[in-house]
């Protein structure tokens, strides 16, 4: 079997097996091994983008032929791999420095590694059923990671995730069975050639796609399927929240939704599914933004903000024009960086001040300069202020919506963006720049090791924002070519 992008899965999985044995010998070895493996994966993914482009081109060239060759990976997959390994690396780095020594048991790093391997599996496969299998890998490791701290909050969050994720997997499987019935196979090629060639029953394929859409929307955390998101994000340990929000929901749900849009726009006649995606995306934007404003706990605030931003991605992907897809993929990558930074910084703040209640915080800027700086960059980027990266991705999305004929949605997106901006500015003023209050008196800046990932991510936001045209040509155009 042609290897394609499979080695990306094997490496972290192998490391996950080795870790428990190594833990007995030496703790630092485990930490370095994890970081090393993830770093290697990141570099390999970056280098692999042009190579993956070849694989993708082959698949696209064979579009008209029958039978179609299997899908082996393309530029979009590789961009997702870059995001996955980057955020996992940031999360692991933070974990290494946040606990001095031995509270984290060996299985923690193994679980993060196997979760990464599972996510790599989801984005590199060309078959819906294999995607289901790797989605369950990610889900199982997520349950364990959310509940890792052992307190009842973590367990509650994990249980809520479990009891919403399992029916979602069931819906996806039913979709696979329907697809199998109508097209004779479960891979992308089968869906493509049947949808385009008109082999199976149209109602059947539409039903299969509808089931897929519902299942993946639950996994992505879109409204009205978002019930598990605030609880799971709030109750998991901080680096895990960063991992969850940064990539797990994206890989598990959003990636598949974007791929589905991609296929559906090449095969006309299935527009109802993409219209539904746009509707739920817009709904998520509004509900997420409004709900975020009434939260006191900042982790819950960030959870609702994530729901809102994922709504932007899905809304744009649903539209499906080249510009819209460009905006969606770019925003996907950007949002991973924003939320990872914000969650990691939030954890640092909690460590330093002992509270997550925002009404009790104030004046952190003077005590924790680096954390403040990177958080401000992330907040502004999420809200879409130039010249940061978030501004560009939001702009592309809104313009694509306007130009693509969805003017109403464009206005909603713009208004929500302004709303978010206003709220974040007020929040920032109070937490970071206001008067110093009792809670923040004794706060100290956190260790350098913990700051490294957020500084790198924030720098990325700034650099990507400033050098946008260059980035566009290098990374994003290939990704969009893949999507068409």
């Amino acid at each position: 079997m042609n290897q394609g992008l499979v080695p990306f899965i094997l490496l972290p999985a192998l490391a996950a097996v080795i870790v428990p044995f190594l833990w007995r010998k030496s703790r630092p070895a485990v930490e370095s091994l994890s970081a090393l493996v993830l770093g290697l994966g990141l570099i390999a993914a970056l280098i692999g983008i042009p190579l993956a482009g070849q694989l993708g081109a082959e698949f696209r060239a064979a579009r008209g032929s029958f039978p179609m060759p299997p899908f082996r990976g393309d530029e979009f997959s590789t961009l997702m791999l870059v995001t996955i390994f980057l955020i996992s690396l940031a999360s692991v780095f933070y974990s290494i420095f946040s606990v001095p020594g031995g509270e984290k048991r060996a299985s923690y790093y193994s679980l993060i590694l196997i979760c990464t391997a599972g996510m790599a599996g989801v984005v590199t496969t060309g078959d819906f059923f294999t995607m289901y299998v790797f989605l369950e890998v990610v889900a199982v490791s997520s349950f364990a990671l959310i509940a890792f701290s052992g307190d009842s909050e973590g367990i509650e969050g994990a249980l809520k995730y479990l009891f919403l994720s399992a029916p979602a997997s069931f819906l996806i499987l039913l979709g696979v069975a329907l697809l199998f019935l109508n097209t004779g196979g479960t891979s992308f090629s089968h869906l493509f050639q049947t949808a385009a060639g008109g082999g199976g029953s149209k109602a059947g394929i539409l039903a299969a796609l509808g089931l897929f859409a519902c299942g993946f929307m639950v996994k992505a955390g879109l409204v009205p399927f978002h019930g598990w998101v605030p609880d799971a994000y709030q109750s998991s340990p901080a680096p895990i929240s960063a991992l969850l929000s940064g990539i797990v929901t994206k890989v598990a749900g959003v990636y598949a939704l974007v791929r589905m849009s991609m296929f559906l726009h090449a095969a006309p006649g299935y527009a109802s599914v993409t219209r539904a995606l746009m509707f739920f995306g817009a709904l998520s934007i509004v509900v997420g933004a409004l709900a975020a404003m009434v939260q006191r706990d900042f982790k819950r605030l960030l959870a609702f903000s994530s729901i809102s931003q994922v709504g932007y991605i899905v809304l744009s992907a649903g539209l499906g024009t080249p510009m819209a897809l460009l905006g969606a993929t770019f925003h996907l990558f950007n949002h991973a960086t924003f939320k990872a930074t914000l969650f990691l910084n939030g954890a640092a703040v909690e460590r330093a001040t002992g509270t997550r209640d925002m009404t009790q915080l104030g004046g952190l800027g003077s005590r924790m300069p680096w954390t403040t700086g990177t958080s401000v960059v992330a907040f502004l980027s999420t809200a879409g202020i130039p010249p940061l990266s978030g501004f560009w991705s939001k702009l592309i999305i809104i313009v694509a919506l306007w130009v693509g004929g969805a003017k109403g949605y464009a206005i909603i997106a713009l208004l929500a963006s302004i709303l978010t901006l206003g709220y974040f500015l007020i929040l920032q003023r109070r937490i970071f720049f206001g008067k110093v209050v009792s809670f923040t008196e004794g706060a100290e800046e956190v260790a350098a090791g913990m700051l490294l990932p957020v500084v790198v991510l924030a720098a990325l936001m700034v650099i990507i924002g400033l050098y946008f045209p260059f980035i566009c040509q290098l990374l994003l155009d290939p990704a969009v070519k893949a999507l068409l």
């Binding site: 079997m1 196997i114 082999g199």
Partner: protein
């Protein structure tokens, strides 16, 4: 054919019992019996491999896991009153959907024409290892993830 229908009815009946029984132990056993019914159904559909897996894993392993979990929980906790009143309308909705499906369900599947049917002369084993080897990798990963998760839940922190 009538035996087959009997098996289908058994499957639904024991699943229903598993939902309804107050005593969790009986519910778990009922689920096991439903699994046996499904196994026989799979045999009847000429899918012996799937049937064997279903028997040993679902009817066997999962029932054992359930029963051991039930045994760990205090008796009082196991008999809770379910909040069924809110959803009394749901079975009615299902009835309507079921009737609609029975008559109009044909539109969702159409006989396939000209689909390449390669790989059916080959046995399940070879299929699994060559065509769907990606799934095998996935199975390995999920077993690994499951072991690590259980270890994370119940392991003693060795510091």
């Amino acid at each position: 054919m009538s035996l087959y229908l009997l098996l289908l009815v058994a499957l639904v009946l024991f699943s229903l019992l598993a939902v309804v029984f107050r005593n969790m132990l009986l519910a778990a056993i009922s689920l096991g019996v439903a699994s046996v019914a499904l196994t026989l159904i799979l045999f009847a559909l000429s899918a012996p491999w799937a049937a064997t897996f279903e028997l040993s894993v679902c009817a066997g392993l999962i029932t054992v896991l359930f029963v051991s979990a039930v045994s760990m929980i205090r008796k009082e906790e196991l008999f809770l009153k379910e909040g069924r009143a809110r959803f009394a309308l749901l079975p009615l909705f299902f009835l309507l959907f079921g009737i609609g499906f029975w008559f109009f369900g044909d539109r969702f599947a159409v006989a396939l024409r000209g689909m390449p049917t390669l790989g059916e002369q080959v046995g399940v084993g070879i299929l699994l290892w060559s065509v769907r080897s990606h799934d095998l990798l996935g199975q390995l990963c999920i077993i690994l993830a499951g072991v690590l998760a259980i270890k994370a839940f119940f392991g003693r922190g060795r510091d």
